[in-house]
Symmetry: C2
Subunit: 234 residues, 2 copies
DNA sequence: GCAAAAGTGTTTCCGGTACACCCATGT
DNA sequence: ACATGGGTGTACCGGAAACACTTTTGC
């Protein structure tokens, strides 16, 4: 016997999909070729299906758009203002995802009319999506200072300066090259591959890959990855 | 015209209500005298009503139980496993609240069959409520390290040692009396009232009250209230 | 006087920061 | 040779931690 309460409503999911192009943070946004708000930009979203958990639904939405199956995904806030969707009342559970911008499925992206857009050039988004992006970024900043999740935005092999560029983008700040390198290496999270970064024009930096054992371990507790960054106000 | 998607479901809200009795953290829990799970303990919860935002609904639930109108309230996670409620599928948006245990409405509490229970003696709770409590505590710990919200659990006037006991309870750790005092006073958040704490048996400590101007200001950004605590693992 | 709890001062230590210097590669 | 960018060493500084000492009150 179901509950007697009757106010049953749609559950939406909206995904803030972050990517890193080597210079700055990017968002995967959809130019809507459907109603409502035809022609405007929005986050990628969808509705919760029967027999599907929130986590599964968010995963499905990101997978549909990017073709990527192993992205980092974290729920961060649920939006429930009564007027947030003009069509019909919905409550939206928002997730942010970190994907490696290099191994996405361009066909999936094109078929959804989506594009990567620099965070600094973000257009106005429909509904409460602008606020969602802002909150997602806040959460990403806190999370990335305490846990080593930034790697999710990079290819499997990368140089330390590339990693630094990423953190500078996330916190919109400048970091000292030498201190950053030392700090990262002291975490024991990186393993040298012996290979060199051949894309560089000058000195070819060493390519590192993750020590996956340590990586998984340090996801769990708060080890303080770069705790000083938590106090960066931007 | 509404959306064509049809899976409309109930939105529940569950509230983790924290109180501080001078020694440890307490939870306000309900011994259910209604179905389902009659006789078992659970969090205080309810359903989202038409024309009501999530925030409003959570506020209503805490107010019904405590009679308190000005408590601290923060949404922290939404739970959506398909089997989390055996009666009917629901998605639950969870909030934690900080209340001053002294000025609650005992009648409201009794009429809901609720009790304050020490966090250390928490019974098993129904559904996924045990996980909710665990996650709420994690969030409270992170939040209280970065923003001065602990005061919400104390009376309007309190001594620095009382405040210290509170933080020791939140982080389940011991702090140095002298360093704590200096740190707190350096924030300029406290104003001496000139009064003494007459409940103490020995030396009567000075009673402080909040500098509300500074307090509101420091809620906004990340000033790092006691940032070293963010790395306490418990 | 003595015990218990509040309040003040000082020293040490460590992590973050700043900066000087060396190395590797392409032109 | 020189410009560009990766990599290592060292000195300093500020905040956290550790600790000694004094003050207030009840018994």
């Amino acid at each position: 016997m179901p509950y007697t309460h009757t106010h049953r409503i749609l559950i939406a999911l909206d995904c803030i999909i972050f990517g890193f192009d080597g210079e700055g943070l990017n968002l995967l946004l959809v130019k809507r070729n459907f109603e409502p708000e035809f022609g405007k930009w929005s986050l990628m979203g969808g509705f919760l299906n029967e027999g599907e958990s929130l986590e599964e639904a968010a995963h499905r939405i990101v997978f549909d758009l990017t073709g990527l199956d192993n992205h980092y995904l974290e729920q961060f806030q649920t939006f429930g203002a009564t007027t947030r969707d003009p069509v019909e009342r919905t409550v939206s559970v928002a997730y942010y995802a970190l994907v490696n911008i290099e191994d996405q499925d361009m066909n999936a992206i094109r078929s959804h009319n989506a594009s990567w857009i620099s965070l600094h050039k973000k257009p106005y988004l429909i509904f409460d999506h602008d606020i969602m992006v802002e909150e997602a970024l806040k959460r990403l900043r806190t999370k990335a200072a305490l846990n080593p999740i930034g790697f999710e935005l990079l290819p499997g092999k990368f140089t330390i300066p590339q990693l630094q560029k990423l953190y500078e983008a996330i916190y919109d700040t400048k970091l000292d090259r030498r201190n950053f390198s030392r700090k990262i290496l002291s975490t024991k999270l990186l393993m040298g591959t012996g290979e060199k970064d051949m894309t560089s024009q000058t000195k070819k930096g060493q390519l590192y890959s993750l020590n996956t054992h340590e990586y998984v371990r340090q996801q769990k507790g708060n080890f303080g990855f770069l705790p000083e960054l938590i106090l960066v106000d931007a």
